[in-house]
Subunit: 177 residues, 2 copies
């Protein structure tokens, strides 16, 4: 799964052939089929594990006790740091999302992360800190900018702490009443 993620991140889905994956693991091609029913199954498993790992890390770092604003910030940084430390996994996730396998996967893997941000939004709306807009609109100003900034790291961009904090602040401005 790791090998597949790295190959997809480096050279796209087209490059993730069974030969290439087996090659990178050091195993023979046929051996892959002892562990996964098919190549698609392998890729889907990799995606699901990735999402589960991210959820673990993010939910661990987002304590329930803090203020809504702090929880939002913690979640932003949690995702940021997680993916920064594993950019291939991030890129794999992006590409998987635009692949035909995504439909097959169904989207369940991402849902828990979505629920997490939604619970923060709900609390913020209840306390009157966050605007009473439809959740999907608000979420659109949280993940997508974050993802966009992560993508740019792959293209050589280096973000300063100032810029990261500015982004978190801008996201909050988009949410705030």
């Amino acid at each position: 799964m790791r090998a597949a993620m790295d190959i997809v991140a480096e050279d796209g889905f087209g490059a993730a052939t069974t030969a290439a994956i087996a090659d990178r693991t050091g195993l023979a091609e046929g051996t892959l089929y002892r562990h996964f029913k098919s190549k698609d199954a392998l890729l889907i498993a990799a995606y699901r594990q990735l999402k589960a790992d991210v959820f673990e890390r993010v939910s661990a770092e987002t304590g329930d006790s803090a203020s809504v604003k702090d929880r939002a910030r913690a979640m932003w940084l949690g995702m940021w740091n997680t993916y920064c430390h594993d950019l291939p996994a991030f890129t794999f996730g992006q590409r998987f999302g635009e692949s035909a396998l995504s439909r097959q996967e169904g989207g369940a893997a991402h849902e828990r992360i979505m629920d997490h941000i939604c619970s923060i939004i709900e609390d913020g709306q209840a306390s009157g800190e966050i605007r009473n807009l439809q959740r999907d609109v608000l979420v659109a100003f949280f993940f997508p900018p974050l993802v966009s900034m992560l993508k740019q790291i792959n293209q050589g961009k280096a973000w300063s702490d100032t810029e990261i904090n500015a982004a978190i602040d801008a996201a909050w401005q988009a949410w705030a009443v």
Copy 2:
């Protein structure tokens, strides 16, 4: 090119085989190679034309005379409407961006659109209406949320005018001093 875009939008890059493309055009497979050097060339040409078309429409609708805020709004709506009327083209663009061909294309096709938003941002910063952040941070709160909302249309989501206006407003809040 239209056939290729539609196929990619419907079933992903993997489905865009020369056979499938030829089939949809009504032409024979071999005939494609009279018009394009290779399948990759065809897809890249489709992408470039798509971006050029979007740039035409968006820059036409974004008059220079209006206020910065209105120009930003016009650009947002310009992209929104353009892609709403051609969702397959939108989806194709997204998938192309995550494909290996994207690196080959180089990104020049998207650059003009990028310049356009940057000139709006510059003017807003000069007039003191927009925060003095690095442009990439600000852009991350313009296109990505828009794109994210468009993607959801493909999943059956219907946005009301109220929500669209709220999104434009939220984007402006992220930008505003």
